[in-house]
């Protein structure tokens, strides 16, 4: 039977691919911001499909906080090799050593906001004119306000009260020297869409997303993994739990949830029944009501 309409995942896929091809056509030196999380993996997968049989015409840029899950780095390196793309790494440790930023102190210290400087420095040094991100509008209330093609001034800043109008699918990519764009091909996807798509396309993702046994402690309402960077309080206790992660960020701030979901099918079923957002477990968003907007204004992902 012929059907002349796309189902919603096909339509979202087609939209994202259109956006990625517009990036390739409009910019000199675009990169995919690759964190090793599911969203940037999906964006990379879409880029592969968009240009096949040619190779992905973008490099991958990883802003490395040094506080990684080892599994993420392993996954990144294998993916880069199989795609034959170039990997750029911006190092937060180097930004600290060079005195560009200062490490936060205390138990809740993270390198999350330090990434902004490393990212903007890398964009400037490498003369990157477009950074493709896997951010989705459903993730967070400030992200719900993003355009597909989001302009950044020569300080890398976002001005949410003064965004360019964005009509139909006509993307204005014009910018002056020193300015750049952030482009978000999966803007319109929900967490559920991402998982549904990973399942449909059978996309490889880091093992951290599947339920596994891990040594963790209970903090800020989630299971924080043990690592060399974790400061443990007297009243906190490391236990072994079967957990999985809904999002991946720094090992110091990414909390896991208890789960038995060890296949993609089970993960999709679990996500469908979730009553809390995926970022609900991320300490970086909990700092204040406008934490994300404030970081984004400065140039965060």
């Amino acid at each position: 039977m012929n059907k002349y309409y796309l189902d919603h995942l096909e339509e979202l896929e087609s939209e994202a691919i259109f956006v990625l091809r517009e990036v390739a056509a409009n910019f000199q030196n675009p990169v995919i911001l690759f964190s090793g999380g599911k969203d940037s993996i999906v964006v990379t997968h879409l880029a592969k499909k968009a240009f096949y049989p040619a190779k992905i015409p973008f490099s991958l840029l990883h802003v490395d906080t040094g506080h990684n899950f080892p599994e993420t780095i392993d996954f990144r390196d294998k993916l880069v090799e199989s795609l034959g793309v170039y990997l750029l790494v911006g190092s937060v440790q180097k930004s600290i050593d060079d005195g560009r930023v200062a490490e936060e102190r205390g138990k809740n210290a993270t390198r999350n906001s330090l990434q902004i400087t490393t990212l903007l420095d890398t964009i400037e040094e490498e003369r990157i004119d477009c950074a493709i991100g896997g951010a989705r509008r459903d993730e967070e209330k400030a992200r719900a306000k993003e355009r597909f093609f989001s302009h950044r001034d020569d300080f890398g800043q976002w001005d949410p009260k003064n965004q360019r109008p964005e009509l139909w699918n006509l993307f204005n990519a014009k910018h002056f020297e020193g300015e750049h764009f952030r482009v978000f091909p999966i803007s319109n996807w929900t967490e559920m869409d991402v998982w549904g798509y990973i399942l449909r396309e059978n996309i490889a993702i880091p093992s951290l997303y599947y339920a596994h046994e891990r040594r963790v402690l209970w903090r800020n309402n989630s299971w924080i993994p043990e690592s060399e960077h974790l400061q443990i309080d007297e009243n906190e206790e490391i236990v072994t739990k079967k957990i999985r992660f809904r999002t991946l960020g720094d090992i110091t701030i990414t909390g896991g949830i208890e789960s038995d979901a060890d296949t993609l099918e089970k993960i999709v079923a679990e996500v469908a029944a979730m009553r809390e957002t995926e970022r609900g477990n991320r300490a970086d968003d909990k700092r204040s009501e406008s934490a994300m907007e404030d970081r984004k204004r400065q140039g965060y992902f």
């Binding site: 002349y4 309409y5 796309l6 040619a54 190779k55 509008r137 400030a142 965004q163």
Partner: protein
């Protein structure tokens, strides 16, 4: 899995400041159980802190600090939810006239518009402005929600009064499919659940209407149009001879073997194959992103359009269009702009303002030729090279364009070709 094969409906809110657009979207999400617990917690806390009686539902979409401080929407917020019947993408847009450009942004990709009217105030100028923009954008389905019925004693007479007021306005525009629903976004009447306060209303609540709007026929399946985004030439041994044209089908259906013409050159060819990823397809239709290959070696590049030989758009250097001016700087006469139409970019100049719409009276003003912020005008534009155009009414993709100011790089106008 319920979401596997559902269709996507994109809709936008419209209407004047404080008519309750954001509250309605909050209510729709809340009553359809699409709100996560941590989001609800956060919003309950904020509402308490601000001294609201209950939960301020508008906070689900008003996500920017300035919006929360001022209690208004400034820029479009996109929200997502699904029911077993459909997936929805909502664009909640600002009512304030100053941010009309953001309303146009949200509305430009919508299949349906919900126009809110405050039952106490009836139709006001912003209602007309947004309705007119929605009709220009050819949004096929309009649902007029008469809101705040709780403040007019759930009065059937008041509802009917506003319906006739709006019908008088709508008759001066091109809107086809209009539905009317009396609601209270604040209390939840006729949003997801049927109202118990308005037994006189026989129709369905809003969500049910959204679930059942017939949208499949909105796509143009006749005029095959394919704008080339980029040329795919792999540098690998294995695919050395591959040369394909990447793009998204704007309308119509393409199949291998079809006789096609590449515009503007006019070269004729045949489609030799259609690819997507590792799959070879036997047809491609809107809005699929694919790669077309042709069976002759002709020069094709970004900005060219591939169409069927027996159904071609008009190549035009003189274009008549309706434009919405989106910039606070007025248009200076005879300024050059960049014009972006499909994937084709040229220089353009506004040669003549034919008339300007008076939004309040919905009449044409033939004397006022100034184009300022939020003005809607009929203009004549001349471009440096021909554009391959259709009328916007027949084709939203090949009938639309934007103007970009070369001095600032800002998008200054949205255009719909007549």
């Amino acid at each position: 899995m319920t979401t596997q094969t559902s269709q996507l409906l994109r809709f936008t809110t419209a209407g004047s400041v404080d008519d309750g657009k954001s509250t309605l979207i909050g209510r729709l999400l809340y009553d359809s159980k699409s709100i996560f617990e941590d989001q609800l917690d956060a919003i309950e806390k904020t509402s308490q802190r601000k001294g609201h009686d209950g939960v301020d539902l508008a906070l689900f979409t008003d996500g920017l600090r300035d919006e929360r401080e001022q209690g208004i929407t400034i820029d479009v917020a996109y929200r997502y939810f699904s029911t077993p019947k459909r997936k929805f993408i909502i664009a909640d847009t600002p009512g304030h006239i100053q941010y009309t450009r953001n309303m146009v942004t949200g509305a430009s990709t919508a299949n349906a518009a919900i126009i809110l009217i405050d039952a106490r105030n009836g139709v006001v100028e912003q209602t007309k402005r947004h309705s007119y923009i929605a009709s220009l954008l050819q949004i096929s389905h309009v649902i007029v929600c008469v809101n705040k019925m709780d403040l007019v004693d759930w009065s059937e007479d008041r509802f009917n009064e506003i319906v006739s007021e709006y019908e008088a306005v709508a008759s001066k525009m091109l809107v086809k499919d209009v539905h009317y629903i009396p609601i209270s976004a604040l209390k939840g009447d006729n949003v997801v659940n049927r109202s118990e306060n308005m037994n006189w209303y026989m129709g369905a609540p809003l969500l049910h209407s959204l679930e059942t709007l017939h949208i499949s026929s909105d796509i143009n399946k006749v005029d095959a149009r394919f704008a080339v985004q980029t040329v795919i030439r792999p540098q690998s041994e294995e695919h050395r001879d591959f040369r394909g044209y990447a793009g998204r089908v704007a309308s119509g259906i393409f199949r291998p073997g079809d006789d096609v013409v590449v515009l503007p050159s006019g070269f004729q060819s045949k489609i030799s194959r259609i690819d997507f990823d590792t799959k070879e397809l036997n047809e491609a239709f809107a809005p699929m992103s694919v790669i077309l290959s042709l069976d002759s070696d002709i020069d094709v590049s970004r900005g060219d359009m591939i169409v069927k030989a027996n159904n071609q758009p008009e190549p035009e250097q003189d274009v008549e269009a309706m434009i919405c001016w989106l910039n606070n700087k007025a248009a200076r006469p005879r300024t050059k702009f960049s014009i972006l139409h499909t994937t084709n970019e040229q220089k353009a100049m506004i040669r003549e303002v034919v008339y300007k719409m008076n939004i309040d009276t919905l009449e044409r003003n033939m004397d006022d030729k100034e184009i300022g912020m939020n003005d809607i005008c009929r203009v004549k534009i001349r471009t440096t090279q021909p554009l391959m155009i259709d009328s916007y009414r027949e084709n939203r993709t090949t009938g639309s364009f934007i103007l970009i100011d070369d001095a600032t790089n800002e998008t200054v106008a949205a255009g719909m070709i007549l």
